[in-house]
């Protein structure tokens, strides 16, 4: 992921940024070479994914959401979506799906080189109700691919019951593992799986320390725009790898150094030390206008201290770590516990907790036009959060990767209004306090 500055100025690259770029680009090279090397390829989704299990079989995971968002950040999603719409998909269909299908039809990949076809479509059904249709469509594109379905029960009541865990475990053992064994021709090596999980837990500890640095003032990280980069290796193919461990150690050291020196995160407008507004954000970023949107925050000296999006793959705040002592249980718990599998009240509680623990001035909800799965109910979350926290919420609307839905002037107007409103309230509160204590 590039760090080009929209303003044309120089934005310094930190070692972790360079390291991440190298990791991801080497990974894409391996993917592109897979048809030659004969390495098996599994398409699966980001939330609650089974990376350790896949790596134990030496297969290469491909995450279609990441392909879509990378296409958007490279300015190619509009064309891919148009390609899918030419094939008959409606304007209202999830733009991730259309971007992915259009990319396949254009015989392209996020980097321009086509990705290898899947040997297995591992349909991890974790909270997003479009996932099933998505892979149904991919199955039409790749009729030879096997399909394994992992149905993860929704945390409707905000808890994981023993029955839910058992249900997932049974599918792992009876459906997922046998299919992986069949396509790779290997038996599962459980020791290997444990080794991978040990490394996952190391990286996860460092990752949590990085995100929790957002509690500091000034915050040394941006917990939304910046954290999007921090989550990339962990939520994709690098959990359980030495590269993953090394990356998160390096990142943690950088962030701790930054915090010790009282420095803010690097934004498209430069380092943000002077932070006027601390925010929590719910909802994914708008990938087509990622830097433009980030710049709007930075220009107002607003920093995001915590976000739900960087829990979309898995939720570690509440103490979960991959556990080599009970590998299958922790795979199941990871699937069941990821943010997308949480109910509206659980999501609301989490955001409220962030507002409190990260001492945020406000919270913003980003509603995604083409995503019914997660945008439905967000306004109700907003109202209930306002009641719970006593802090007013802001509301943005755009899309994940469809550039047509982003109106810069509209979004800027909303953001500026929201920030000015927070500052005005702060001013009024200060005056009230001054009146009480003469």
């Amino acid at each position: 992921m590039s760090t080009r500055d929209t303003e044309g100025g120089h934005v310094p690259k930190e070692p972790s940024m360079i390291k991440q770029k190298e990791l991801l680009s080497a990974y894409y090279d391996r993917l592109v070479a897979a048809p030659q090397t004969g390495q098996k390829v599994v398409y699966t989704f980001v939330p609650g994914n089974l990376t350790e299990l896949l790596l134990a079989f030496d297969v290469l995971p491909v995450l279609p959401e990441i392909n879509a968002l990378q296409s958007a950040m490279r300015g190619r999603s509009g064309d891919f979506i148009a390609e899918a719409e030419r094939a008959g998909h409606s304007e209202d269909v999830c733009s991730y799906v259309k971007c992915d299908l259009g990319m396949l039809r254009a015989k392209s990949g996020p980097t321009g080189k086509p990705l290898p076809p899947p040997d297995l479509l591992l349909l991890s059904y974790t909270g997003c109700f479009t996932f099933m249709k998505w892979f149904e469509l991919l199955k039409q594109e790749f009729p030879k691919a096997e399909v394994a379905m992992l149905h993860v029960p929704y945390q409707a009541d905000g808890v994981v019951t023993p029955e839910m865990r058992q249900y997932v475990l049974a599918q792992l053992r009876e459906e997922v593992v046998p299919k992986l064994e069949r396509i790779t021709g290997k038996k599962l090596d459980e020791d290997r799986l444990r080794e991978l999980m040990e490394k996952s837990a190391l990286a996860e500890d460092d990752f949590v320390a990085v995100l929790e640095a957002g509690k500091k003032k000034p915050s040394p990280i941006d917990g939304y725009f910046g954290a999007v980069f921090y989550i990339a290796p962990l939520f994709s193919a690098f959990r359980g790898t030495d590269d993953g461990v090394a990356y998160y150690r390096l990142l943690r050291e950088e962030v701790e150094q930054r915090a010790a020196e009282g420095r803010g995160p690097i934004t498209p407008l430069g380092q943000l030390d002077d932070q006027r507004i601390r925010l929590v954000v719910e909802g994914p970023p708008c990938w087509t206008s990622f830097r433009e949107l980030w710049s709007m925050f930075a220009a107002e000296k607003a920093v995001v201290v915590a976000s739900t999006y960087c829990k979309v793959g898995g939720l570690y705040d509440t103490g979960f770590r991959h556990d080599p002592r009970r590998p299958f249980d922790s795979l199941a718990d990871y699937c069941l516990g990821c943010y997308t599998n949480l109910s509206l009240p659980s999501r609301t509680d989490l955001v409220a907790r962030y507002v409190r623990e990260y001492q945020a001035d406000g919270f913003l909800v980003h509603s995604v036009k083409s995503c019914n799965s997660f945008s439905a109910g967000q306004l109700l979350m907003l109202r209930s959060l306002e009641k719970k926290t006593g802090v007013p919420g802001g509301f943005l609307e755009s899309d994940l990767v469809d550039p047509r839905y982003f109106s810069g002037a509209n979004v800027k107007n909303r953001l500026e209004s929201y920030f000015q409103m927070l500052l005005a309230r702060r001013g009024a509160a200060a005056e009230r306090a001054a009146e009480v204590t003469p």
Binding site: F395, A409, N413, Q420, M421, A424
Partner: protein, 463 residues
């Protein structure tokens, strides 16, 4: 006294009459409000935004300053026991004289530009000459005070309406295609609007006063001398801008430091609070935005919702509908008020406005009945934003250009009662000020008065 957008420093002078200016550069109209040190409104100015915010801003400001000086003159006159009894007649008369001068100047420019565009086309030039001669004659009576003032104050609407009506008659008489004649007007009008003119108070006040006094039956030398002295006092102490605050869609165009630019949501909240202090909810329907804003007892915004990038159901939609019907946008409300029943309209999409309208007309529906349905459809969309922002619990103030449309107000009244009226002993109060279009600019001016600090004052300094 001319102001350019580029030369509006926060402190233009160190002496004179201190003023605070709010500028609201909307997508359709640009507004300016001038306040005195006590937060009282001295003057207002408004013009079409066209596609030139710099010019629109300057014109709105100039107008507001002319108006401000008029107010100061009226205050001076009212303070003089000799003149005081005549002020209520004098002030409107002076204003009409001013408007007349402005109109005549712009009309002369329009005539010149039209002739430039029609050069060498004999019959067309003849028709234009006949039209303009008649328009110049009409101008005399238009600002005489004997006829009601034109319902729109924009030169484009007033002169355009006259021109079209005359062209219909004269083009037929002279066998010139109507479209050709009106085509010249369409091309000329933007050029006229983009040509700035000196319409300053200082340069024109004496003439306007002379004209007003000339019409004044009970004029006497004593009165004339008193009025002249009052004018001298006003001119001797020119207004100076202590601070300006800008808002609105085009606010980024203003050469102000960041802290002097405010979101229109905050400005509408504060402006509505200043006009109606019990306001807790503000509905602002502007040219391309609809906003529902909740404010506290001090006018501080506590929450808001606005439309997404689709401007369906905003003022611009009414503009398209008016164009489609061959009406001025200010004529829609009165026409809709004549409806005998309401046609159900499904779409407030601006792009489909024309098609929806033609469909209904083709089905034999009457224009006024369709318009009544359109206004309800617009307000229904606004109701959804109001609900999203937290609903209407106490006083609601309706602001923005669309609030001056009586059919929109009636539709809002009906819908608020339907949605929030149940179980109330008396209906929720809905405030609409005749100056609702200036609410954002007034809020901006109040922010200017409060000073550069981001924090608001608690309780307005209103004497």
């Amino acid at each position: 006294m001319t102001y350019a957008i580029s030369d509006m420093p926060p402190r233009a002078a160190t002496h004179g009459f201190p003023c605070f200016v709010g500028i609201d550069l909307g997508s359709t109209t640009s507004k300016a409000v001038v306040l005195d040190e006590d937060g009282r409104i001295l003057g207002r100015g408004i013009t079409n935004s066209r596609s030139n915010y710099d010019l629109a801003c300057r014109i709105a400001r100039d107008e507001a300053f002319v108006d401000a000086q008029m107010t100061r003159l009226a205050r001076e006159l009212a303070a003089d026991p000799v003149v005081e009894p005549h002020v209520s007649v004098l002030r409107p008369s002076v204003e009409r004289s001013f408007r007349y001068r402005q109109h005549v100047r712009q009309l002369a420019t329009l005539r010149r530009v039209c002739f430039e565009l029609a050069a060498g086309q004999g019959t067309l030039e003849g028709a234009l000459a006949a039209i303009f001669d008649e328009m110049e004659r009409e101008a005399e009576t238009m600002f005489s005070g004997l006829r009601p003032r034109p319902s729109s104050e924009f030169f484009r609407d007033v002169a355009g309406g006259q021109f079209q009506a005359l062209a219909e008659k004269i083009a037929a008489e002279r066998r010139v295609p109507f479209e050709t004649v009106v085509g010249v007007l369409d091309r000329a009008m933007p050029r006229v609007e983009n040509e700035p003119d000196d319409l300053s108070f200082e340069g024109n006040a004496r003439d306007a006063l002379g004209r007003a006094l000339g019409r004044y039956a009970k004029r006497s030398d004593v009165l004339s001398a008193a009025v002249s002295a009052a004018l001298d006092r006003v001119i001797a102490e020119p207004p100076f801008v202590v601070r300006s605050v800008g808002t609105g869609y085009g606010r980024a165009r203003l050469p102000f430091p960041k802290e002097q630019i405010r979101s229109e949501i905050l400005c509408h909240g504060l402006g509505a609070h200043a006009t109606f202090p019990q306001t807790r909810t503000v509905l602002d329907i502007g040219g391309q935005d609809t906003k529902a804003v909740q404010v506290d007892a001090d006018g501080v915004v506590t929450g808001f919702q606005m439309n997404d990038r689709c401007a369906a159901g905003c003022g611009r939609y009414l503009g398209y509908v008016a164009d489609e019907m061959g009406l001025g946008v200010h004529e829609l409300g009165p026409l809709a008020a004549q409806a005998s029943h309401r046609v159900r309209i499904s779409s407030t999409c601006t792009v489909f406005a024309g098609a929806e309208l033609r469909d209904r007309l083709a089905l034999g529906e009457k224009r006024e009945d369709i318009l009544a349905g359109l206004h309800r459809a617009i307000l229904l969309r606004a109701m959804s934003l109001l609900a999203r922002s937290g609903g209407v619990r106490e006083e609601l103030t309706f602001t923005g250009g669309v609030a001056s449309n009586q059919a929109a107000v009636a539709a809002l009244r009906e819908l608020v009662d339907e949605h929030y009226g149940e179980g109330r002993s008396e209906p929720l109060r809905i405030n609409v000020s005749p100056d609702s279009i200036f609410t954002g600019a007034r809020g901006a001016a109040l922010f200017a008065l409060r000073g550069p600090a981001a924090g608001p004052a608690r309780g307005e300094k209103m004497s």
